[in-house]
């Protein structure tokens, strides 16, 4: 069973979780044997941007030593054999240029979304 995880909600509790919970879940189900694709759309397209930096937060005397590094988590997901797609229209709306992005992603347009959905048995929209 091939599943496409579409991730739209972004930066939801990523500081508290120290990752994106759906990128994390994608790692976990891949580890359990899932044949998986991931599509970043909406605000989640900025997970593909280089130079994201959530480091340095302190709360009183508490210092966050392990801030989220979502671009790294995307790269390591791809290294596990998961194809990560990113929606071009959502990138363009946010002024994100190809040179702003990490490598290895598949750029797809809305026109290509229909065949992408057809190529997967299940579509999970997060």
């Amino acid at each position: 069973m091939k599943v496409l995880n579409i991730i739209e909600t972004a930066y939801r509790a990523t500081i508290e979780e120290q990752d994106d919970t759906i990128v994390w879940l994608s790692h976990a189900v891949r580890g359990a044997g899932a044949e998986l694709g991931v599509l970043l759309r909406g605000n989640a397209v900025s997970y593909a941007v280089k130079g994201q930096n959530a480091a340095g937060l302190t709360f009183g005397g508490w210092r966050q030593t392990q801030p989220p590094d979502i671009a790294h988590d995307i790269v390591s997901l791809m290294a596990k054999g998961v194809t990560v797609y990113v929606m071009t229209e959502d990138l363009a709306k946010r002024g994100i240029e190809p040179t702003d992005m990490i490598g290895g992603l598949e750029r797809i347009s809305r026109e290509s979304l229909v065949p992408l959905l057809a190529a997967h048995d299940r579509v999970w929209y997060w």
Binding site: M1, L25, A28, V29, A34, W126
Partner: protein, 137 residues
């Protein structure tokens, strides 16, 4: 007809925060009335849906006592859904994401709720007729 179909629901919203919760519980209600095998993977805030320490409260604005207000507790709704599944020859298997439980201190859940992981979600989804993900915003 009992157990004719197996459906999985992945839920993310915490109780009392989103209209998604009521719709999800309505969907589960329909499936258990049909005697389906229903599996729920509660992820993130949704692990608090069956939290056993939820308590009713009165509502002074409504002018009603605790008993009169009969406040909806999601833990009670889930317990009723588990019972309804049994009555109809089906099942309701509710799996709370264990790490999500730990970070929220939500370990006290009603009877019938078990602890699991995304790997359990994948196993459930793989074996099911279909899966509906209801994410959070």
């Amino acid at each position: 007809m009992a157990q004719e179909k197996t459906l999985v629901f992945a839920l993310m919203d915490a109780p009392y925060e989103s209209a998604n919760t009521a719709t999800a519980l309505r969907l589960i209600d329909i499936a258990v009335r049909r005697g389906y095998a229903v599996k729920v993977f509660a992820y993130e805030g949704a692990v608090l849906l069956p939290f056993s320490r939820q308590q009713r409260h009165p509502n002074a604005i409504h002018g009603r006592s605790v008993e009169e207000e009969n406040h909806l507790l999601t833990r009670e709704v889930i317990a009723f859904l588990i019972a309804a599944a049994k009555q109809n020859g089906g099942t309701l298997d509710w799996v709370n994401c264990g790490l999500c439980v730990d970070e929220r201190g939500a370990g006290e859940a009603i009877e019938g709720v078990r602890r699991g992981s995304p790997a359990d979600f994948w196993q459930m989804a793989q074996a099911a007729d279909n899966t509906l993900v209801i994410g959070t915003r």
